[in-house]
Subunit: 306 residues, 2 copies
């Protein structure tokens, strides 16, 4: 029989990949028979982590070919496999807001911690299961990635504690050095097309019955991204039209100074501006102090569309 | 400031009450400031447990007067406080199917174990927090109640393990004797009106956009309940009309022989019958081997209405 599949969200980031690998290993140690897979190719940052710790990239799927699946780092249908409604979810490990519905009880653990990998560390610890060095390295990378080296407001005391423990298991002596190298590996945007930029980390959200897309890129130089605004506009408007998105918010985050600016193209722009109590000027909105889509972008947007 | 409220579902059963008390104690030990409350008065079985272990009944509320709340033993809006959409859920401990939506991340732990109290036992254990004798007694009662003394198909190996541990802490020497006394305390239906019978443990479910009510009574004598069928029909049809239920399934469960019969009044009766691959004869459906609403009634109904 095919192994039960374990996967993170579409457009996987480092946590989606690392948490799938860690959860699959953890569940197999608990007696299950699972395989970690991914819903897309690793991004540059994740490739840096995979290479650094000597782990192969995961098999990429778009549809689950097993009856039962495990979700990590997401729970919403729109972010999952194409046939999510036809399979049974047996476990969820996640740290996002919840929009989830099943017809039978299951294992579901969510916690507002910095990364899903942080949550999985706690499960390994609770059950006394040792984390292999390479997997600890990926989990460390995921924690660094999701919390921007503990600078994101999503960071909790648990993350601040777990980061050192994972670094020790992974054999990483200087977390700060390693973390900056990891984050910077994801910020070389010059070789990417506009379509790659907007699609890279984008997720779909349902707000008041409409479909919105929210993308985010990390950079150390916001102006060089904004210099491509006209071409980004063309790419986003083309995607809104072809995919039926009612709007697209493209968040450009300065990982060194912990600020963002965002471009918005689509309907209800006044509601988008109101969400952040800001003006939208030439489709641009200033988001000082904003680095977390999950904590600082999605909740105010959700409230504004209520 | 008012304490954060912790509560189980409307029409509370023993697990809804015990889990609220246990979760509130657990969270307070973890540094929170919470109060366990109930969304209704305790039933006869729960009263037996409260008296046996010397615990006062909880304060009854219908609306939460705090901004933040903790849900135990339920997650669906229709089973919660009237103003659930206006408050923030910070934690959920549950063992039911999920139909849940939030705008921000939170702590959510669900597991397909026999009772929410079983899940809470695992949290006490993980964190090395001692369970007070009286609370262990209530948690034991809840585990017995929800699993019908480990006979329900919802029973897991974890429940079989935890029941003995809770009994030991609670000072209950003969779990079987205590359990039968507890379950029988909930089966004296002779003094109840038909309205009390159908309302006692009833929960509301949304199926294919319609609203269905599913009630359940435990008994040692199904025929004596069915002898009141005409009066039950009047009570159920009156409630369907006044509350706008599209249908009402009233499950009568023989706790000694682990069988049920159910009365159904409402729309889509063919879909209800199809859910159980049975005929509905004079509004009566035979459900041999069925004791668990959660595992043997709601999932097939949900699938049949898809």
């Amino acid at each position: 029989m095919a192994k039960e599949l374990v996967f993170g969200h579409q457009n996987p980031d480092t946590d989606a990949i690392a948490a799938a690998i860690a959860a699959s290993y953890y569940l197999n140690e608990k007696g299950m028979d699972t395989e970690a897979v991914a819903l897309g190719k690793p991004n540059d940052e994740t490739n840096f982590a995979l290479n650094y710790f000597g782990v192969d990239a995961l098999r990429v799927i778009t549809k689950a070919d097993t009856k039962e699946v495990v979700l990590v780092d997401h729970n919403e249908t729109a972010q999952s496999v194409a046939n999510i409604d036809d399979v049974t979810v047996t476990h969820v490990f996640d740290h996002h807001k919840i929009d989830f519905k099943t017809s039978a009880p299951l294992f579901y653990h969510a916690e507002a911690l910095g990364s899903t990998s942080t949550i999985l560390y706690e499960f390994f610890k609770k059950d006394g299961i040792e984390i292999p060095t390479k997997i600890a390295g990926l989990m460390l990378s995921a924690l660094i990635s999701d919390t921007l080296l503990l600078k994101s407001p999503t960071t909790t005391d648990v993350d601040r504690d777990v980061i050192g423990k994972l670094a020790k298991i992974a054999g990483v002596d200087d977390v700060n050095d390693f973390g900056l190298d990891l984050l910077k590996a994801g910020t070389d945007l010059s070789k990417k097309t506009e379509k790659e930029l907007i699609d890279g980390d984008a997720k779909t959200f349902k707000l008041a019955g409409k479909t919105f897309r929210i993308g985010q890129v990390n950079t150390v130089d916001i102006p060089s991204v904004l210099a491509r605004k006209d071409a980004l506009k063309v790419a986003i408007e083309a995607e809104n039209a072809s995919e039926g998105f009612n709007g697209f918010l493209f968040v450009i985050t300065d990982i060194l100074n912990s600020n963002s600016k965002a471009l918005y193209f689509g309907e209800d722009s006044s509601k988008v501006a109101a969400a952040f109590q800001k003006e939208l000027v030439d489709n641009l909105i200033d988001l000082p102090g904003v680095v977390s889509r999950k904590k600082q972008v999605v909740p105010p947007l959700t409230d504004s569309f209520k």
